[in-house]
């Protein structure tokens, strides 16, 4: 079995804080000392300066705290799309708002959202990349 065959059909998350196993969800690095949460690789906590973190699950449902509808972006970025900031039970997450028409009549501040996954396509080795977004929960 070549490595290419072994990869075919496999999935990989767009970002390492997206967990695909089981029910897809996001995870954060939580500071053991002060509970500040981060999504990136950490050296130390920007809030309390300690350097110990644990991985915690982030709720998959939330509320839209801010958004914009991007109509002008770099070549290769499909527009329009809705970029937003979602309050997931106290943890703030950046993500696109998907499965909703990208206009201010359908995208509303405070709307209830839930995490969903999207396919980015399959690479040369047959691996599918999976991204995330938030869709209307109602």
């Amino acid at each position: 079995m070549t490595s290419e065959q072994s990869l075919a059909g496999r999935r990989i998350p767009l970002v390492d804080y997206l967990v695909l196993e089981g029910e897809p969800h996001l995870v954060a690095h939580e500071c053991v000392t002060c509970a500040a949460r981060y999504f990136d690789r950490r050296n130390a906590c920007a809030s309390c300066e300690q350097a110990e973190f644990r991985v915690v699950d982030v709720p998959t449902e939330g509320e839209l705290r801010a958004f914009t509808i991007v109509s002008f972006a770099a070549p290769g970025v499909p527009v329009p799309f809705v970029a937003g900031v979602v309050d997931c039970g106290g943890t703030t997450v950046r993500g696109n708002v998907v499965n909703v028409p990208p206009d201010p009549e359908h995208v509303r501040l405070g709307m209830k959202l839930r995490l969903t996954t999207t396919s980015l396509g399959t690479d040369a080795a047959g691996v599918e990349a999976i991204g995330y977004g938030f869709e209307p929960a109602a």
Binding site: A46, V70, V127, G131
Partner: protein, 400 residues
């Protein structure tokens, strides 16, 4: 108590398209203008702080010296995103307050005409296999897939977040802020654009990132500004005319963003501005109610609204009512961006944090021509560089 610092000379080039000038040409024009305004020469200057964010960062100050006077003084080449100019001024002021020199020179210059999107303007090339990299272990570019990295989009969300927290915002409200600044710009001959837009024209223009249409975004352009600052002791040795036109730097503050929940998800431009404003009011011994004019960082119409609140021009949460009262128009109680602001005057990044000080100083000197705010004695200049850095300077017309 450190010594008072005064602006002795200050100059801003015309903002706009300067196809035949490079950043050095623009910086030199600003420096020679500021020195002439001060009545000093390069050999009188003890420290130079220089910024040119998008290009010659490493030795920009030395390149300017080679065209204006190589006197061997220390040069600080500074970079702090859109607060680069304010940072240069802050360095010059700090050197004088520290007692290291009596005369400082700060300059910022930028060539930005036709630059387009400054972040998120190009998507990184992607390989043919998914390979995690970077601090998020991302297998592909995140701009457009996990929110937006474009400035119009980031600042749109900042304005929308304010609306979510306090209510009262709308596409039309943000557009009316832009309408004000474009109306103000018609009186400013140095503005890149001096065109008045109707509300309908603004709302129906090209949408960039809702709710920011094109005229609601800062204008990329070329320009430079420079300031000569002196110690109070030095000022006392100069002519009465120089003393009369000098403008007191009552506060010079630079902050970065203190950690707040979610500040690494959506940039928090509020906390560091509030902190800078508080420090500046305390340093100056004056309050927001004393301000005769404010130049604040309206990189987007959505940003101007939140800074009314952050600079404490209104009660917390009251920015919408404050704007709706007409307070920030040039005939209002707290005129904001009578220069036309970044949306029409333009935003040549490294120049901006000195150009807004020039605008305020020019009013305090009574030399602002058709757009003069009558009797202006106190003004505030504010900039934000995303990342973030915030510069606030409070200037006063005062007797030495």
């Amino acid at each position: 108590m450190a010594e008072n610092v005064w602006i002795l000379g200050i100059h801003m080039t015309k903002f706009g398209k300067h196809p035949t000038l490079d950043p050095v040409d623009l910086g030199v024009e600003a420096i020679r203008g500021a020195l002439a305004d001060a009545g000093l020469r390069m050999r009188d200057v003890g420290v130079l702080a220089a910024g040119n964010l998008m290009g010659r960062g490493g030795s920009f100050g030395q390149q300017l010296q080679k065209q204006t006077g190589q006197t061997g003084i220390p040069v600080f080449n500074v970079a702090n995103a859109c607060a680069t100019g304010a940072t240069a001024l802050r360095v010059a002021v700090m050197a004088i307050r520290a007692g290291e020199t009596e005369v400082g020179l700060a300059v910022g210059a930028e060539k930005l005409s036709g630059a387009g999107l400054l972040a998120g303007g190009a998507r990184e090339a992607e390989g043919d296999t998914w390979a995690p990299k970077g601090r998020f272990g991302a297998v592909a570019a995140l701009d457009g897939r996990v929110g937006t990295e474009t400035m119009p989009g980031v600042f749109a969300q900042i304005g929308m977040e304010y609306g979510h927290r306090y209510g009262g915002t709308s596409f039309e409200l943000f557009a009316r802020i832009s309408e004000k600044n474009h109306a103000h710009s018609t009186l400013n001959p140095l503005a890149a654009y001096q065109k008045r837009f109707t509300l309908g024209q603004i709302m129906n223009d090209v949408m960039i990132a809702y709710p920011n249409t094109r005229p609601m975004c800062s204008a990329n352009c070329d320009g430079a500004a420079a300031a000569v600052v002196v110690s109070e002791a030095k000022l006392r040795t100069l002519s009465l005319e120089q003393q009369r036109r000098a403008v007191k730097v009552s506060a010079s503050v630079l902050t970065s963003d203190p950690w707040q929940e979610a500040c690494q998800v959506l940039p928090d431009v509020n906390t560091l501005t509030r902190v800078a404003a508080e420090q500046a009011y305390e340093q100056a011994g004056i309050g927001p109610e004393d301000l005769d004019l404010v130049e604040l960082h309206d990189c987007f119409a959505t940003a101007e609204l939140v800074h009314y609140d952050n600079l404490k021009l209104c009660p917390q949460g009251g920015a919408v009512d404050f704007f709706n009262s007409g307070a920030t128009w040039r005939d209002g109680t707290t005129p904001v961006n009578v220069s036309g602001g970044l949306e029409s005057k333009g935003h040549p990044i490294a120049a901006t944090g000195i150009a807004n000080v020039w605008e305020v100083a020019t009013h305090l000197r009574g030399e602002a021509g058709d757009r003069q705010i009558a009797g202006a004695r106190v003004g505030l200049a504010h900039v934000i560089g995303l990342g973030s850095a915030c510069g606030v300077h409070i200037l006063e017309k005062a007797a030495v």
